[in-house]
């Protein structure tokens, strides 16, 4: 408030003075012609900088985004290729499964030797006994065992337990019947006793 009002007062004072004292009027010395800065180039420069900056930022940002998309695409491609490689590797490993190799070997008629002799080349010596290979040391391939033995045992046990339970139940039933008969007989006896 005070700041806004203050400059007003001194500004008007000379006016009042002008009304009364004419001779004091003197030409205000013209201000020195300030070197007129060429305004236009400056505005253009600033605008250009501004526009350039904005456009540059935009282009930069867009290209960043573009590369982000590209990165994602390449990443996906890499993932797909890695997955394919792993799938193939997995297949290879499955083929290396000893069960598969043994089956393939058997198909070709190969057997595991029971015993092999060893040759010592420098001494021209044969160590061990070479035995013609037959099938005796070749274990059978993975046979389809329907149920492991222990499961069969467990099942048998379960069946036995069920049978025993049934038997026990029958026995209990029989006992209860007997007890009931006995009780009936006793009741009869007591009632006849009472009658006596």
């Amino acid at each position: 408030m005070s700041i806004a009002a203050a400059p007003q007062a001194p500004a008007r004072r000379p006016d009042r003075a002008a009304e009364t004292t004419q001779p004091r009027l003197a030409a205000v010395p013209e201000p020195l012609p300030a070197p007129l800065a060429p305004r236009l180039p400056f505005v253009v420069l600033v605008s250009m900088l501004l526009v350039g900056g904005v456009v540059g930022l935009l282009v930069f940002n867009t290209s960043m985004q573009q590369s982000a998309f590209q990165e994602q695409r390449l990443q996906e491609q890499a993932t797909t290729l890695a997955a394919r490689e792993q799938a193939l590797d997995g297949e290879l490993k499955k083929m290396e499964d000893p069960h598969k190799i043994a089956a393939a070997a058997k198909k070709l008629g190969m057997v595991v030797p029971q015993n092999a002799a060893m040759l010592r080349v420098p001494e021209a010596k044969v160590e061990g006994e070479a035995v013609p290979a037959d099938r005796s040391a070749t274990p059978p391939l993975h046979p389809k065992v329907a149920k492991p033995y222990s499961v069969q045992v467990a099942e048998q046990k379960a069946a036995e337990a069920a049978a025993a339970k049934k038997k026990a139940a029958e026995l209990a039933e029989k006992k209860r019947q007997e007890a009931a008969e006995k009780q009936a007989a006793e009741e009869q006896r007591t009632s006849t006793g009472e009658a006596r």
Binding site: A5, G90, H99, N115, P140
Partner: protein, 603 residues
């Protein structure tokens, strides 16, 4: 106030020249005041809002701003592989994918998409439908651990059929390329974690630590990263591999051979262990029946582990080797000690008999072992001072866990010094009234093979720490002398007579042509867990090593309850021979070429 008055004073004269203007716009101070009030009102609204945003509840707004388009994804750590000694994978991980759905997008087509997913991924139609329709959710698991190629194909096909809102994300997959080979040791993974075997025991070692990435995305669904946005990333730490001492191909051969023997003898189950004599490394540890790690649910729960470690049994006559080795170490007997073996021998009020009826027999100590005479062993072992046998057996590792790292291992049962008595000791001499697991027994026999020095058996190359904090492996295996080199050599030669004595030997079937082989048969009565009594069934076993004078492998085979009534020699002897022969050939062990033992077995 004073200032205002002053201002009025100053202004008044100035108004005179322009009365018209004042009338049009009102006096200056009124205008200023109105303007000031307006400005103040606007500023106080701003101020109030500022206080509301920053002072009262700054976090909820920050969180709302952050939640918009910020994606936080878990970067799963890759689980370490389980490898055999040659680096062949017994269990490995591959990039599986999880198929995810955004119910907001899938809701309208839910039945069609559910049917599509049921066909492509084999998911349950009803549960998939419920997930696809879930209200207020933008993220649902449809199926986890799908092979990457299958998942990608399914999602691509969905896109082509016009179904929106399905995508995939990384989800490592566990593979067991060898199926049931070593499954008893390796164990398997369930959907939510490891369920058995080394997978469970070494989970912390194998698992690694998941990382996560948090970033601004152009859309939470597509997950395309917004450049210059938030980007917090913690890289996953992959799990460590676990290299086993197991030889996969040998494991396969042992497994098949054992399976064949168990089936042919109509037995209940069997187990076999192959150990490297000089290092204590377990080259194979086989259980039959076992399970397929790729489909554990197909086998009963009791088979999804290693019974060779968790089930203990009475070892029978193989134990005589340990009894006699201790006696030899003490210098109480020699292989040629003459023993007059009577028909039966009274101990603790009950007679001890041999497995074959005989009159009075004249056997040397070597003959007692070769012929597997209970009475002869008990008579020789009577020379032990009180408590000596127990000390030896404890040093051989009986009654203690072998420390392979699997917590399912049972320690077996060696009577404590308080419950130990003479009648008990007589039976322990020949392997009854004591229970062991197969690896304990193998390690004990290996002590004889290794010149009297026991090596802790190990299953892991190097060292690794299991979940209960025990550091195990070949690096931590300890060596302790149990019996003297001489006692071990004599015992080994007596064991050779078990196989090569044409008259008294009990296991000619265990021979490996061309090699010197030592071994011992065992036929033990089994304790029935229900009645806690001997139920007439047997455990037949054979343990031994080759070559006798420079042993490389110790092999131990035990078969429970053979239905054909066979003994250790006839049922497990041939299995031992096949396995030993295969191992010697596979590792290129030449015959030593020395003369086999001919120490006398009778007199």
């Amino acid at each position: 106030m004073a200032r205002r008055q002053l201002q009025r004073k100053v202004r008044r004269p100035a108004r005179r020249p322009g009365p018209k203007a004042t009338q049009r716009r009102g006096p200056v101070h009124i205008r200023l005041r109105v303007g000031f009030i307006l400005v103040a009102m606007v500023l106080s609204v701003f101020g109030g809002r500022l206080v509301q945003l920053q002072g009262i509840d700054p976090h909820s707004y920050a969180a709302m701003a952050a939640a918009e388009n910020v994606v936080d994804v878990v970067l799963p750590a890759e689980r370490g592989e389980i490898l055999d000694r040659d680096g062949e994978a017994l269990a490995d991980s591959s990039d599986g994918l999880m198929v995810l759905a955004d119910p907001k997008q899938t809701k309208k087509d839910a039945p069609a998409i559910a049917a599509f997913l049921a066909k492509e991924l084999g998911v349950d139609y009803a549960s998939a439908l419920a997930k696809l329709r879930k209200d207020g959710s933008r993220f649902q698991y449809i199926k986890r651990q799908v092979p990457a190629t299958q998942a990608t194909a399914a999602v691509e096909k969905a896109g082509k059929e016009g179904f929106q809102g399905l995508w995939t994300s990384r989800d490592p997959l566990r593979n067991y390329p060898n199926g049931d080979v070593a499954a008893n040791l390796v164990g398997f993974m369930g959907n939510d974690g490891p369920l058995a075997g080394l997978e469970a025991a070494f989970d912390k070692h194998l698992a690694g630590k998941d990382g996560h990435a948090e970033y601004d995305a152009t859309s939470p669904v597509s997950g395309t990263r917004m450049p210059l946005g938030t980007n917090n990333r913690v890289d996953p730490v992959n799990g460590n591999d676990l290299t086993l001492t197991i030889d996969r191909d040998l494991q396969y051969y042992v497994q098949q051979t054992l399976m064949d023997a168990v089936q042919k003898s109509r037995a209940e189950s069997g187990m076999a262990v192959v150990m490297d004599t000089q290092t204590g490394e377990i080259l194979s540890l086989v259980d039959y029946p076992t399970f397929d790690a790729r489909d554990p649910a197909a086998s009963p729960k009791a088979l999804r582990g290693s019974n060779a470690l968790s089930n203990v049994y009475e070892p029978g006559s193989v134990q005589k080797v340990l009894t006699v080795a201790g006696l030899l170490d003490q210098g109480l007997v020699s292989p040629s000690t003459r023993i007059r073996v009577p028909e039966s021998y009274m101990s603790g009020g009950a007679p001890i008999r041999d497995w074959y009826p005989h009159g009075v027999e004249k056997l040397t100590l070597a003959g007692v072992i070769a012929k597997s005479s209970n009475i002869g062993t008990v008579m020789a072992a009577d020379k032990y001072a009180d408590g000596q046998l127990r000390e030896y057996l404890s040093a051989f590792g009986q009654g203690q866990r072998t420390g392979l790292g699997l917590d399912t291992e049972s320690a077996g049962l060696l009577a404590s010094p308080e419950t130990w008595n003479d009648a008990n000791e007589d039976r322990i001499d020949f392997g009854q009234s004591i229970s062991v697991n197969a690896v304990q027994m193998t390690a004990a026999l290996n002590t004889i093979a290794n010149g009297g020095v026991r090596i802790d058996p190990s299953l892991i190359v190097g060292s690794a720490t299991n979940n209960s904090g025990a550091e195990v492996g070949t690096d931590t295996a300890e060596r302790n002398r149990v019996v003297s080199q001489e006692a071990a050599t004599q015992t080994a030669e007596m064991m050779e007579r078990v196989i090569n004595d044409p008259v008294n030997g009990t296991a000619k079937q265990a021979a490996v042509p061309g090699y010197r082989v030592s071994g011992k048969t065992g036929t033990a009565q089994r304790v029935n867990s229900e009645c806690k009594c001997y139920d007439g069934t047997t455990t037949v076993s054979f343990g031994g090593f080759a070559p006798t004078d420079d042993p490389r492998f110790t092999v131990y085979v035990a078969i429970h309850n053979p239905g054909n009534g066979g003994g250790g020699g006839s049922v497990t002897g041939p299995v031992f021979s096949q396995i030993m022969s295969f191992a010697l050939r596979r590792y290129g062990v030449p015959p030593t070429g020395t003369e086999p033992s001919k120490m006398p077995t009778g007199w």
